[in-house]
């Protein structure tokens, strides 16, 4: 405690001396649990990780893959070999060199370290070979087109091998990368402090001296902190607060579609919803525009499937389904329940989720379908999902830049996130084919075929695409709007 106080005092004393030191404070909606990409499973982790670590490749505002630590790459062997040329002269924050050995160390660690959360997405990788100091060859078991997109995320984050070897289990609490900001300290549920990496390879960047992340789980508190100037930027902004922020002359707001989706798992293996016609009946009662209007005040976008606009998989010729009560009644009769039926919808606690569930409930009631809402804690919800112990469950997906990441593990037979217990070999075959080819148009066509089957079988009702919402001080500039929702502060400038 004392030691901590002394350190803080020292930091603030230093801050006082430097005078011109610029601090950028970011308000998030939760506290990032893990800063080690190996162990990270929470979306919010990536916000901080992206400042500490550079990745092999990055995404631009159009979700296009752009160079980062890898300056160029080529694909050989019919899509089974990726050759990466690496940036030279990059050093980790502990002074050690970034090179091909470091890339191999990182990818091998992600693939094989016990308890790695990255092993799944890197499973198609067979081998990582060092060709020379700045060239790496990644060999795949079979063609796997999502690889680059995966390397633009946590699996592509390069941590310092020296630090990992030195710190072991404590690396997560003292992370070292090559990114624009280096880790200083963290206080659980309170703040994470990062400082400018003076030796960053991109000369003249970053522009701010200090970056502080603060978790504000409460929407009002987050907004209030932005309004009072205690923080410079927040994300997300609650829908109800967007108008207030827009009206404020000192603040600017940006909203754009994210890469995830929200909706409802329908258990196809048991309960009333095991009956396909009844699933279709329920799905037909959903009025996506009303959901958007009532719960999200017009800031969400009705979804036609798991691929949001902007994704390679998005097919604009497939419309988001409309409410159709006649169809619902027809399907009820077809399912042998012309008078309606009832099922339980499990949701995580939270006012917005409760509101959303009650909107579904009211809409289903119009066709005589009774929904019983059951709030269970998130832990219990996931547990029931994994065990297939539920009838319907409102749970979305944060999204991945490559369409494969939004569908592959969700609807294939026995895949890890297939809570609905859905199994259709036709869909499996399509999804496996889609991940093997690299021509975007061809992939989209295959995904659309799969989606049409899913929209009929309905293991999941895709309802809306959440927006990424950012509110920030007008003085702040240089933050690209990338659909993955991660705020990149490398070029951020407070303009002071």
């Amino acid at each position: 405690m004392k030691k901590w106080a002394a350190v803080t005092l020292a930091i603030w004393a230093l801050a006082g001396m430097a005078g011109a030191k610029t601090t950028l404070t970011v308000g998030l909606d939760s506290d990032p649990p893990s800063l080690d990409p190996l162990l990270s499973s929470a979306l919010v982790d990536r916000q901080v990780q992206n400042q500490i670590y550079d990745k092999l490749v990055d995404l631009d505002a159009n979700l296009k893959i752009v160079p980062m630590l890898a300056t160029s790459w080529s694909v050989e062997g019919g899509g089974t070999v990726y050759m990466f040329k690496l940036r030279q002269g990059v050093k980790f924050q502990d002074g050690s060199d970034f090179n091909a050995e470091a890339v191999k160390f990182n990818l091998d660690r992600y693939r094989t370290a016990p308890g790695s959360r990255r092993a799944g997405e890197l499973a198609p990788v067979k081998d990582v070979q060092v060709v020379d100091t700045y060239t790496v060859r990644v060999v795949l078991k079979e063609p796997f087109s999502p690889l680059l997109a995966i390397l633009s995320d946590r699996s592509g984050m390069m941590v310092s091998p020296t630090a990992v070897q030195k710190l072991g289990a404590d690396f997560a609490n003292n992370p070292v990368g090559s990114g624009p900001f280096k880790f200083v300290e963290r206080r659980r549920q309170d703040r994470i402090v990062l400082a400018k990496n003076e030796n960053y390879w991109m000369k003249g960047f970053p522009k701010v001296d200090e970056l502080i992340y603060r978790p504000f789980p409460d929407d009002d508190v987050r907004t209030a902190n932005l309004l009072s100037g205690a923080v410079n930027i927040i994300s997300p902004v609650a829908a109800k607060d967007l108008e207030t922020l827009r009206k404020n002359p000192n603040l600017s707001v940006s909203t754009f579609p994210g890469i995830g989706y929200q909706g409802i798992y329908l258990n196809v293996s048991k309960g009333a919803l095991a009956n396909k016609a009844l699933r279709q009946a329920f799905a037909a009662t959903i009025d996506r525009d009303t959901v958007d209007k009532v719960v999200f005040l017009g800031t969400a976008q009705p979804a036609n499937g798991p691929f949001p606009p902007g994704s390679v998989g998005y097919d604009k010729s497939i419309p988001a389904p409309k409410q159709d009560l006649d169809l619902a009644k027809k399907k009820l009769a077809e399912g042998g329940k012309p008078q309606g039926f009832s099922f339980t919808l499990s949701i995580a606690p939270g006012p917005v989720l409760a509101q959303l569930a009650q909107v579904y409930q009211a809409m289903a009631a119009q066709a005589g379908i009774q929904i019983k809402i059951e709030q269970v804690e998130f832990g219990t919800l996931l547990d029931r999902g994994t065990k297939g112990d539920f009838e319907a469950m409102a749970l979305g997906w944060s999204g991945r830049p490559d369409p494969d990441g939004n569908i592959y593990d969700f609807v294939r037979c026995k895949s890890p996130n297939n809570y609905s217990q859905y199994c259709n070999p036709k869909v499996d075959a399509l999804l496996n084919r889609a991940r093997a080819i690299r021509v975007p148009e061809a992939r989209r066509a295959i995904y659309s075929d799969a989606l049409k089957i899913l929209l009929d079988d309905l293991p999941y009702v895709y309802t809306y695409v959440p927006q990424t919402t950012i509110g920030m001080s007008k003085k702040l500039s240089g933050i690209p709007t990338v659909p993955d929702g991660i705020l990149r502060f490398r070029a951020a400038d407070l303009g002071e």
Binding site: W4, S41, R117, G120, A172, F216, A230, D383, P416, N417
Partner: protein, 314 residues
């Protein structure tokens, strides 16, 4: 005296042991698998199984309990499941915040409760007395979350006097720290203030009717001296008891207040560790809360002796 303290401390051990056993049993029957929860979006059965093994969650419960107890004896509370941080530093980070809040809540409660109680007792049966009773019971009855919300609405949103919530360490910005502590401490302190006012009134009334007070009065001592020097001192025992009873609960009881005001303290830690199934943290937090309840009780006993010289502990 020292012997008494020692005996009390040793005597409390079985209860504390029982508390640890209870909380351990409770964590293990909580539905929801910490491994799955920890993996979140990356969950899959194989990885979860591996993680459970890594965390030692698939060992028999008694073995787990034994291991935890063994660590506890050596002062090792284990590591958080959620972020692999050691539990003790987490506790040490959060405890001062909650203690500060509890301290201010108690201060506010005493400042409001004792004078109110005294006034009510001295004007027994008057409108003032009834008013104090209603206010005191209102303080006890108003839900923390409602009062907290009301205060935020009034002082932060409507009047814009006080930032709505958050926490700043006192050594960073003392003024802001105190300002931010005001509303939560008041929220947390009202129930205690009500209880203190009620007990002060009732116990003072009883003391005032006793012989020695009459004697003191007969001796011609001023009413003020009689009340403040003699009666109040003797009336303090039940009041101290009720403070002790409630203070012990303040640490864990601040759950809601800390939630409403976004204070990163002990109460938040409790809720988060339940929701995250972070067993090692939950176990430690409950243990510390139980110890604090227990220590406060011992302290109350000692205070009795200090207040009333007739009470002696052999």
């Amino acid at each position: 005296m020292i012997l008494f303290v020692l005996r009390r401390l040793v005597g409390g051990l079985p209860t504390l042991l029982l508390v640890t056993l209870l909380v351990f049993a409770l964590t293990r029957v909580l539905p929801g698998d910490p491994a799955t929860l920890l993996l979140g979006e990356e969950a899959n059965p194989q990885l979860a199984a591996k993680l459970r093994e890594q965390l030692g969650l698939n060992r028999p419960i008694l073995v787990q309990y034994g291991a935890w107890l063994g660590g506890l004896v050596q002062g090792d509370l284990g590591r958080s499941i959620r972020d692999n941080e050691k539990v003790s530093p987490i506790i040490w980070q959060k405890l001062p915040t909650s203690l500060e809040l509890a301290f201010f809540a108690l201060a506010i409660a005493l400042l409001l409760g004792v004078p109110a109680g005294v006034v009510a007792a001295l004007r027994r049966g008057s409108a003032t007395d009834a008013g104090v009773t209603v206010l005191a019971l209102s303080g006890i009855s108003i839900p923390n979350f409602f009062l907290g919300i009301l205060l935020v609405y009034l002082f932060s949103i409507r009047l814009d006097w006080i930032p709505p919530s958050g926490y700043v360490e006192p050594w960073v910005d003392l003024r802001k720290n105190l300002l931010l502590m005001l509303l939560p401490a008041f929220t947390l302190g009202t129930a205690l203030a009500g209880a203190i006012a009620r007990f002060t009134r009732n116990s003072l009334l009883e003391v005032l009717s006793q012989d020695y007070v009459r004697t003191a009065r007969a001796k011609g001592l001023g009413e003020r001296i009689v009340v403040w020097r003699h009666a109040l001192r003797n009336a303090a025992i039940p009041v101290v008891t009720v403070i002790g009873l409630q203070l012990g609960g303040l640490l864990g009881g601040a759950v809601i207040t800390e939630q409403v005001f976004s204070i990163p303290g002990f109460g938040r830690l409790v809720v988060d560790s339940v929701f995250n199934r972070d067993f090692p943290v939950l176990q430690a937090v409950v243990l510390i809360s139980a110890i604090s309840v227990f220590l406060v009780n011992v302290l109350v006993d000692l205070l009795y002796a200090a207040i009333d010289p007739r009470i002696r502990y052999g």
